[in-house]
Amino acid sequence: MKEEFNIISNLIEENTRVLDVGCGNGDLMKFLQENKTKDIRGLEISKEKVQNCLSKGLTVIEGNAESDLKQFPKSSFDYVILSQTLQAFLNPELVINELLKVGKKVIVTIPNFGYWRVRLQLLFKGTMPVTENLPHAWYNTPNLHMCTIKDFYNFCSTKNIRIYKSIALKKSRISEINKSNLNYKNLDSHLGIFLIES
């Protein structure tokens, strides 16, 4: 978690306006508030988590990214963050489009389904992968649309979404993703972090 927060924080310029979509208990918001910017909002679907955030004095709205991002004006945030949540939406493409409307830049992080540990489980065990990063069983997972780093990379180029920066994370090792190392990073990283713009 800490590495991911650091990478996200490094992608953000100081004193900018940030929206964290699916902000959970507000850990990332708190981290960015202490390190980068005071002007940060959150959107979260779980009542309990919203209450936890509000208790910490964080500005969070209870709502669903698929329907409630519309209320924010176009480009009203410098950065919109979607941390490890994209795969849980019914319609990830719609969410990405909404994010790109509301934010001047968007940071998306995805748990990589192409990571070799994940692939090996399906290949050798023949069962849906359960890892540290993806701890749910197939029957109770909130993750409806798993994708790989390569999937997301290709998605961006198909949809003409500009990738500013793409970073791969393995344990605490950070590296850049580019066209030539894409296949390798897709195999050897558990998390992909993308800074994109429409």
């Binding site: 004095g57 709205i61 004006p73």
Partner: protein, 377 residues
């Protein structure tokens, strides 16, 4: 209504132009305060009361001898902790607890003003209370807070005085009274006016009180404050002090007995004309109309932080109407938080012991107070 209780009161000498066109001056505002104003005057919270509330937010209400109407929220070591905050609450104009209202005695006639009292609005109530803030010499409030009609006053206050509160917490309210809300209020008013003892609002001249009408108004309104589930769980079809139906129109059911009781205790503490005037003020409330149909414009000039709260089982001021406020604020990039609290206690949830509401509200106010104070240093 026992008026022999010592209430804090100021006389507003500045003329106040009402929305109806009339002007009032030299009128009383009754209020109460709790806690101590700090030397920087940075810890003041103005609480607005709802339809039948009054200035006695916390502690013992000296008139009813019952707990203040928001004792769960305001008091020592409560979510709004009076060890820390200076809490102010004023009786709205139109009310009957010492502020200028239809039961105020007209000094030239020696009689109650009755229905010669001008029609007032939420805007008028808020403007009158602002005079109290000026009198208390508070440049900027830490927060304005209120539920139901109190929430409407919160919205109106920030619209009227965009730089006078750092934080605004409207709870279980709306920016515009719906047809359903108006309908229920009209039912209550008609019940009062249909009482032969109403005498066109001049009942006190005849030493009468339209208590039957007022009680019916209260009974009907009380149902709207609860939820179907809450009613069913609490009362169901349980019988009142009897084993079987009596085949008559006495209160066979507990719910009937409960409503009759609610009606009967209400008439002892509330003035029928005040009920007419205040419900009318609520019906006239439409903040977006004041801003040519764009609610966002009401908040364009403000940097006030907002926290909007609604309740799942509130069908009188449902979450959708509270969300309208959030959407209007978000569309201009205002600083707004929002949560819908799970509760089966209906609209009344904001007045009752709903732990997740009390905890979230208290934690939010306290951490925001800390954050805002740290920022200033």
């Amino acid at each position: 209504m026992n008026k022999n209780v010592d209430t804090k009161k100021i006389i507003i000498s500045n003329p106040l132009k009402l929305d109806c066109g009339k002007e009032i001056n030299n009128f009383p505002i009754a209020y109460e305060t709790y806690g101590v104003l700090n030397s920087k005057k940075s810890n003041a919270i103005l609480v607005f009361h709802a339809l039948t509330g009054d200035q006695y937010v916390s502690g013992k209400n000296p008139i009813t001898n019952k707990d203040g109407w928001w004792s769960y929220v305001v008091g020592e070591n409560k979510p709004i902790d009076t060890n820390k905050f200076f809490v102010i609450c004023a009786n709205v104009i139109g009310g009957c607890m010492g502020s200028y209202g239809p039961s105020t005695i007209n000094e030239s006639t020696g009689k109650q003003i009755g229905t010669d009292f001008p029609i007032i609005t939420i805007n008028d109530m808020v403007n009158a209370q602002y005079e109290l803030i000026k009198y208390l010499e508070i440049e900027k409030l830490f927060a304005v807070v209120g539920g139901s009609m109190g929430g409407m006053q919160v919205l109106q206050f920030v619209a009227n005085f965009p730089d006078k509160a750092k934080l605004a917490i409207p709870i279980a309210c709306t920016s515009s009274h719906s047809a359903q809300n108006i309908a229920f209020n009209e039912l209550g008013r008609q019940a009062i006016m249909a009482d032969s003892k109403w005498e066109n609002g001049f009942y006190s001249n005849y030493k009468l009180n339209p208590d039957k009408g007022l009680a019916v108004a209260r009974m009907a309104a009380h149902i709207t404050y609860l939820s179907e589930k809450g009613l069913q769980e609490k009362f169901g079809r349980k019988l009142q002090d009897r084993d079987s139906l009596r085949y008559g129109f006495e209160a066979d059911f507990q719910i009937e007995s409960y409503l009759r009781y609610q009606g009967s205790v209400f008439v002892d503490r509330f003035d029928a004309n005040s009920y007419l005037y205040i419900t009318r003020a609520m019906d006239y409330f439409d903040l977006s109309k004041q801003y040519k149909g764009n609610l966002s414009d009401a908040f364009k000039k403000t940097k006030t932080k907002f926290f909007v709260i609604s309740f799942t089982s509130d069908w009188l001021y449902p979450t959708s109407e509270n969300r309208e406020i959030v959407i209007a604020l978000n569309s201009i990039g205002a600083d707004v938080g929002f949560v819908e609290i799970e509760s089966d206690k209906g609209h009344d949830s904001f007045l009752l012991d709903v732990p997740s509401f009390l905890k979230t509200l208290g934690d939010y106010i306290n951490s925001t107070y800390k954050i805002i104070n740290e920022r200033r240093i």
